[in-house]
């Protein structure tokens, strides 16, 4: 006997899923914005010739890269409030966790990008009398960022998928909404099929936009697209 697919109960609960998607985008966007900024900061610290700057940055990066994100999330949500007495909403706990967690990966992307720029570019900048920070901002980073786009996109996609973990601490993201819909409708197969499709469409569109940006940048000479 073939399974009788019926999507109508799921579609009747579309508003719930839409709300879940909005929340997923909200947590992803927040973590992405803080993660990229923090990641750049961590990368610059890690590349510093001064030990007392590079070592702590390296430590943070390694700790967050080598522990499961779900453990980190639980730690920030359950353990940190006990230690320092700060109560966090699920959203804040998720934002903090995913920001730092993705920052540690973005830091490595930034570092690889910065280190891939030839020494001659530093020479050219320094020969004009630029300070280290001017050379980094005007000459090195703009080139490094272009080379980083593919790795960067991959991390952003990974981040969006990682945010599904936030459903475990009862934040109403897309996966959490899906649980609710599936329990309400007794249609888990249809519900999770729709949810998988939503993730696919959003992430696929985002990666197409990234590819477009990359092609646009490629016009100004050097780029990662050949």
């Amino acid at each position: 006997m073939a399974y009788q697919w019926d999507f109508s109960p799921v579609l009747a609960n579309a508003p719930l899923l839409v709300e879940g998607l909005v929340n997923t985008l909200r947590i992803t966007g927040t973590a992405l914005a803080f993660g990229v900024a923090l990641g750049l900061g961590l990368a610059l610290l890690r590349l510093s010739p001064r030990r007392f700057l590079s070592w702590p940055a390296g430590f943070v990066i390694e700790v967050f890269r080598t522990t499961p994100p779900l453990v980190q999330l639980f730690w920030f949500f359950f353990a940190l409030p006990i230690l320092v007495g700060i109560e966090m909403t699920p959203f804040v706990a998720g934002a903090v966790t995913f920001s730092i967690q993705s920052a540690s990966f973005f830091a490595e992307v930034f570092r690889a990008g910065i280190q891939s720029i030839e020494r001659g570019q530093w020479d050219g900048a320094r020969a004009l009398g630029m300070r280290h920070d001017q050379a980094m901002r005007r000459i090195i980073l703009p080139q490094a960022v272009k080379r980083m786009i593919p790795a960067f996109m991959e991390r952003a996609i990974e981040l969006m998928k990682t945010t599904t973990l936030i459903a475990t601490i009862s934040y109403a993201d897309l996966l959490f909404a899906a649980n609710e819909v599936s329990q309400k409708t007794f249609r888990p197969l249809e519900t999770y099929t729709v949810v998988a499709l939503i993730y696919f469409v959003v992430i696929f569109l985002a990666s197409q936009v990234a590819r477009l940006v990359e092609l646009r940048l490629a016009r100004s000479g050097e780029s990662t697209v050949h």
Partner: protein
């Protein structure tokens, strides 16, 4: 009048002594060609003069002012702020051009004026256009380096250095990375600068060019000045055997 005075300059990389005590005095308007086999330390010497490499020992004085501070153990330290001043006064042109690929030709030439000098954009643009015209590339202002030939890239790099009004120019094998047919256009630009009476130090393998453009030729061997003098002496009647052997090994040698 002396612009640059180098005393006892040494540099080592790991266990290798690349420079073993260079003494060199450069007068304003002098054009010095630095020759030597690869590994003789000629590029390192040049790179020490604008502190792309930190000198190991010895002193460098610009306009009579000794650079850096003496530390307790006798070694010198060079604060970045001082090096930034020096590099604006001593321009450098590299073998590999080192143009910024994400900026147009004029963007490259403007960059130092804008970022280092803080010059307003219209002014910097006008100045950069003038320098590009000087090297014959006015019509390539909006072209990215990827679309320029090697010779054109090097001329943009020269314009970029000139825009900062350097008192002295360092050329580190400016034509070594070029296809032979592109060497001439770059040498012509350097020759024009020489005729303006600019002070320049030039590491090169183009002996014929060195003969025509230099007021003094220095032959380096094993990190020390082996022989120096006017081009007529050093290139035509070298006194030392190693200089002679080096010149003989350059087959294209012709005046």
């Amino acid at each position: 009048m002396t612009i640059l005075k180098v005393t006892g300059l040494t540099k080592r990389f790991g266990n290798t002594d690349v420079l073993r005590g260079i003494d060199l005095e450069v007068a304003r308007g002098e054009r010095i060609a630095i020759l030597g086999a690869s590994g003789s330390g000629k590029s390192t010497l040049l790179r020490c003069l604008n502190f792309m490499e930190r000198p190991g020992g010895g002193t460098i004085a610009l306009d009579g002012q000794v650079l850096g501070r003496e530390g307790r153990a006798g070694e010198r330290s060079y604060p970045e702020s001082e090096l930034i001043q020096v590099r604006q006064r001593v321009g450098m042109v590299f073998q590999q051009f080192n143009l910024f690929p994400h900026m147009t030709a004029i963007g490259n030439v403007m960059e130092g004026l804008r970022t280092v000098r803080g010059m307003p954009k219209p002014e910097a643009e006008a100045r950069a256009a003038k320098e590009l015209a000087r090297v014959g590339l006015a019509e390539k202002a909006d072209t990215y380096p990827a679309h320029l030939s090697g010779g054109q890239k090097q001329r943009v790099a020269i314009a970029r250095a000139l825009a900062m009004d350097p008192e002295m120019l360092l050329f580190d094998e400016p034509t070594s990375a070029l296809d032979p047919e592109l060497v001439g256009e770059v040498l012509a630009v350097i020759l024009a600068l020489a005729e303006e009476g600019r002070t320049m130090l030039l590491v090169t393998h183009e002996l014929g060019f060195a003969y025509h453009v230099a007021t003094r030729v220095i032959f380096l061997a094993d990190g020390a000045i082996h022989e120096q003098g006017p081009p007529d002496e050093v290139l035509k009647n070298p006194k030392k055997d190693r200089t002679r052997a080096f010149l003989a090994s350059h087959k294209q040698f012709s005046f």
